[in-house]
C-alpha cells in the first residue's frame, strides 16, 4: 500500500524542500546584513524573469543534462562514474579537433561530426577504467577520479604545447571558423522587431540534450540492453544466472556514460566558447552526480534537476553582479538548495507520510 498519494511524492516533497532551503538561505543572507527578499527576487528574476535569464539558465542546464544522464546510465548498472569531468574534457578535445581540422560547409554537418567525435573521445576516456573494473576489479570510483586528473594534465599539455596559436598567451585553441558556429536561441527565436535571448549562450544543443534524454529513457526501459543493464545493477549474481555477461555490461554501460559526458562539449565548447579553453568543464562533471541523484537516475528527473541547477548557477551569477554578497556565500546558498532537495529528502518525506497516514486513519 502506498503511504501517500503519488502527487504528494512528486510535487509536494520537492516544493516543501525548496521552501525550507529558501528560508534557511534567507536567514543566512539576513545574518550578513543583506536583504533576503531582494536577493531571492534578484535570483528568480535574474534567472527566470527574462528570455536573457532563461538563455543562461538553459545553457547551464544543457551541460548538466548531459553529465547527469552520464552518471544516471552508469548508475543503473550500479557503477559510480565520477569521471564525467575528465570525459567531458576529452569530449571537448574531440570537438576542437573536428571543428578546427576540417573546413565544414555547414554547421549541421559539423554538429553531427562533433557529436560523434565528442562521444568517441568521451567513451574512450571511460573505456580504460571500465576495462580495469570489468577485468581486473579495480574500483571504478578510484579509477574514474584518477582519470580526471590525467585528463586535466593531458588537456593542459595539448593546449599549452600543441594547439595554442603562435603568439597567444592564453592557453586555448584558435576560434572555430564561422561555419561551425551553432545557432543560438537568439538567432533561432528572434524576429526583426523583437530580439529575445539577447547575448545568452543557450543554443541548439539544448534540443540535442532533450533528444538524449528521450534516447536514454528508451534505451534503459525499452530495449533488451537496457534491461540487461538494470538487471545487472539490481543483482550481479541474478544477471549472471540469466546469462548476462558482467564484463560486457560494465564496459557497455561505461562507454555510453562516457559518450554522454563527452557530448557536453557540443554545448560549452562548440556552442558557447567556440574554442577550447583550459577550464571549459568547470565542474559540470561533478554537478552531474548531484543532478543524477536528485533526478533519481530517470531522464525526466535529470532534466528537471538540471534546470534547477541551471537556475542556481544563473541566479547566483546575478547575485554576484548586483549585490555585495560574497561568492563563497552564494555557494552556501546553492549548497543549501542541493542539500534540501537532494540529500535531506527523508527529512520531509517521513513527517509528510505520517500526516497522510493520520488523514487516512481519520477517514476510515
Amino acid at each position: 500500500m502506498e503511504k501517500m498519494p503519488k502527487w504528494a511524492d512528486v510535487v509536494l516533497i520537492p516544493i516543501i524542500s525548496l521552501l525550507l532551503a529558501t528560508i534557511l538561505s534567507a536567514i543566512v543572507i539576513l545574518a550578513i546584513g543583506e536583504n533576503p527578499v531582494e536577493a531571492v527576487n534578484l535570483m528568480v528574476t535574474g534567472a527566470l524573469g527574462s528570455t536573457y535569464g532563461w538563455g543562461y539558465t538553459l545553457y547551464y542546464a544543457t551541460n548538466f543534462i548531459f553529465t547527469g544522464l552520464a552518471v544516471a546510465v552508469a548508475f543503473h548498472a550500479r557503477l559510480f562514474n565520477i569521471g564525467g569531468e575528465g570525459q567531458a574534457m576529452l569530449g571537448g578535445l574531440g570537438v576542437a579537433i573536428v571543428c578546427l581540422s576540417v573546413p565544414w560547409p555547414h554547421w549541421t554537418i559539423a554538429l553531427l561530426a562533433a557529436c560523434a567525435a565528442s562521444m568517441i573521445f568521451g567513451a574512450a576516456w571511460a573505456a580504460i577504467p571500465a576495462y580495469l573494473q570489468a577485468k581486473r576489479g579495480s574500483h571504478i570510483v578510484i579509477t574514474t577520479i584518477m582519470f580526471n586528473f590525467i585528463a586535466a594534465a593531458f588537456l593542459n599539455y595539448m593546449l599549452v604545447n600543441v594547439m595554442r596559436p603562435q603568439g597567444s598567451q592564453d592557453p586555448a585553441t584558435a576560434r572555430f571558423p564561422e561555419a561551425v558556429h551553432l545557432p543560438t536561441f537568439q538567432s533561432m527565436f528572434s524576429s526583426a522587431e523583437n530580439i529575445v535571448f539577447r547575448g545568452a549562450p543557450a543554443n541548439i544543443s539544448f534540443f540535442v540534450a532533450i533528444l538524449a534524454c528521450i534516447v536514454v529513457w528508451a534505451l534503459i526501459w525499452r530495449t533488451r540492453l537496457g534491461y540487461e543493464i538494470r538487471a545487472y545493477g539490481h543483482s550481479e549474481t541474478g544477471a549472471v544466472y540469466a546469462g548476462i555477461s558482467p564484463v560486457r555490461i560494465t564496459i557497455i554501460a561505461m562507454l555510453i556514460s562516457g559518450a554522454l559526458a563527452g557530448m557536453m562539449a557540443i554545448n560549452n565548447v562548440m556552442g558557447e566558447a567556440e574554442r577550447l579553453v583550459l577550464n571549459s568543464t568547470e565542474g559540470a562533471g561533478f554537478i552531474g552526480i548531484a543532478v543524477a541523484l536528485m533526478g533519481r537516475s530517470h531522464p525526466f528527473g535529470v532534466f528537471l534537476a538540471a534546470i534547477l541547477f541551471g537556475f542556481l548557477y544563473q541566479g547566483g551569477a546575478e547575485l554576484a553582479l548586483w549585490t555585495s554578497i560574497p561568492r563563497e556565500l552564494i555557494v552556501v546558498i546553492q549548497a543549501l538548495v542541493i542539500l534540501f532537495t537532494g540529500a535531506l529528502d527523508n527529512m520531509v518525506r517521513m513527517p509528510l507520510e505520517k500526516i497522510f497516514l493520520s488523514f487516512r486513519k481519520g477517514a476510515e
Binding site: 543583506e34 536583504n35 531582494e38 592564453d170 566558447a273 583550459l278 553582479l321 560574497p326
Partner: protein, 332 residues
C-alpha cells in the same frame, strides 16, 4: 519593527546604489578570487585605495565560471559602468567579442597586450625583467648553487616568469642549477598552499636554498615552508617580505594595484592603447624594506641596481618566453 526597519534600510541602500550607477567604474576579478594574496588582491588594493581617496564607489564581481566573463562585461556595460576594469588573460577573448558592441564604454584589461580595439586600454607587465632581477639575487644568496622556481598553473605567463628568473640566476652564476616545478594544470593550482609546501620540500631535497614562488595563493605555502625549513624564499606580485621577516629574500613586485588605481583615477577618459609597464615605468621591480634589509648585502643591491639600469638602457636584454615560446635558460 527593527527587522522591518533594517529591511527597508537595505532596500533603500539598494535603490540608492542603483541610482548612482551612472559612470561608476567596475572591476572584474579573475577566477582566483578577490583575496588570493596576489594578483587579484593587488587589483582590490588599488581599487580600495582609489575608493578611500576619492570617496567613490565601484561595482565588482568575482568570476565563478567561464561563461560569466562575457555576461559580466555586457551587464556592467549596459548598466553604465565606465571604465570596466578586467583582470587576467582569460578576459582577452570575451573582450574581443564584447568591446565593439559598447563603443562608448572604455575597457581596461590587465595582462593582455595583443588585442585590437579602439576603446580598450591594455596593460601588460614585463614580468621577465623583474624576475631577472630577483633571479640574480637568488643566485647571489644561494650557497648550494641550486635555486628553485615554483609556478602556479602551467601556462605561458608563468613560464614567462620562470624564464626571466633562470636567466637572471645564470647571469650571476652560469653553472647554477635551476629547479622548476609547476603546481598543477587546473585553476586549483593558484590556490593550493599544501602542494606548494610539498614542492618546496622536494626542491630543498634537491639542494635548493632559495625558492621563488610565482603561484598566487599557493605561494603562501611555499613561503611558509621555506621559513620553517630555514631557507630563503622570494614572494611575487605584492610585497610579501612581511609574511616571514628575515626569511623572505625579496619580492618580485608587479604593480597591478597601480595599474588599477590609475585607471580608476582617470575614470571614463582613461587613455586607451597598449601599455607595457617594465622596469623603467616601475611596473615591475624588487621589494626592499626593513624585513629583508639584513638579507641583502650592499654588493647584491649594487649588482642588481646596475642590472636594472642596464636593462632600461638596453645594454642587457632579457629574452621573453613569448617571443618564440621557449626559454634559453630553462627547460619546462
Amino acid at each position: 519593527m527593527t527587522l522591518m526597519k533594517s529591511l527597508m534600510g537595505a532596500a533603500a541602500a539598494v535603490a540608492l546604489t542603483a541610482g548612482a550607477a551612472l559612470a561608476e567604474p567596475a572591476l572584474i576579478f579573475d577566477l582566483g578570487g578577490k583575496f588570493d594574496k596576489s594578483f587579484n588582491e593587488a587589483a582590490h588594493n588599488g581599487a580600495s585605495r582609489w575608493a578611500e581617496e576619492t570617496g567613490g564607489t565601484y561595482r565588482e564581481i568575482e568570476m565563478q565560471s567561464e561563461a560569466q566573463r562575457e555576461q559580466a562585461l555586457r551587464r556592467f556595460a549596459e548598466a553604465g559602468s565606465n571604465p570596466i576594469i578586467t583582470m587576467g588573460f582569460g578576459m582577452a577573448d570575451p573582450l574581443a567579442a564584447v568591446a565593439a558592441d559598447y563603443p562608448d564604454t572604455t575597457f581596461v584589461v590587465v595582462d593582455v597586450t595583443w588585442l585590437d580595439a579602439p576603446n580598450l586600454r591594455q596593460v601588460g607587465f614585463a614580468e621577465h625583467e623583474g624576475s631577472y632581477l630577483v633571479g640574480m639575487m637568488a643566485a647571489m644568496a644561494s650557497k648550494t648553487g641550486t635555486v628553485g622556481f615554483i609556478g602556479g598553473m602551467d601556462v605561458p605567463l608563468i613560464r614567462h616568469f620562470g624564464c626571466g628568473y633562470a636567466q637572471g640566476a645564470k647571469a650571476v652564476n652560469p653553472d647554477i642549477n635551476v629547479v622548476a616545478n609547476m603546481t598543477g594544470t587546473t585553476p586549483a593550482a593558484w590556490n593550493d598552499p599544501v602542494k606548494g609546501s610539498e614542492l618546496t620540500k622536494a626542491q630543498i631535497s634537491q639542494g635548493a636554498d632559495v625558492v621563488y614562488a610565482a603561484a598566487g595563493g599557493t605561494g603562501v605555502g611555499v613561503l611558509q615552508t621555506a621559513a620553517d625549513e630555514g631557507i630563503l624564499s622570494i614572494g611575487v606580485d605584492s610585497n610579501q617580505n612581511h609574511l616571514h621577516p628575515g626569511k623572505v629574500l625579496t619580492s618580485m613586485l608587479k604593480r597591478v594595484d597601480v595599474a588599477v588605481y590609475e585607471a580608476m583615477k582617470a575614470g571614463e577618459d582613461v587613455e586607451t592603447g597598449v601599455f607595457v609597464m617594465g622596469l623603467s615605468e616601475d611596473g615591475v621591480g624588487y621589494a626592499m624594506d626593513e624585513n629583508n634589509a639584513p638579507l641583502v648585502s650592499d654588493d647584491m643591491k649594487a649588482a642588481v641596481d646596475k642590472a636594472r639600469q642596464d636593462i632600461i638602457d638596453g645594454n642587457v636584454s632579457v629574452v621573453s618566453y613569448y617571443e618564440n615560446d621557449s626559454c634559453p635558460a630553462l627547460q619546462f
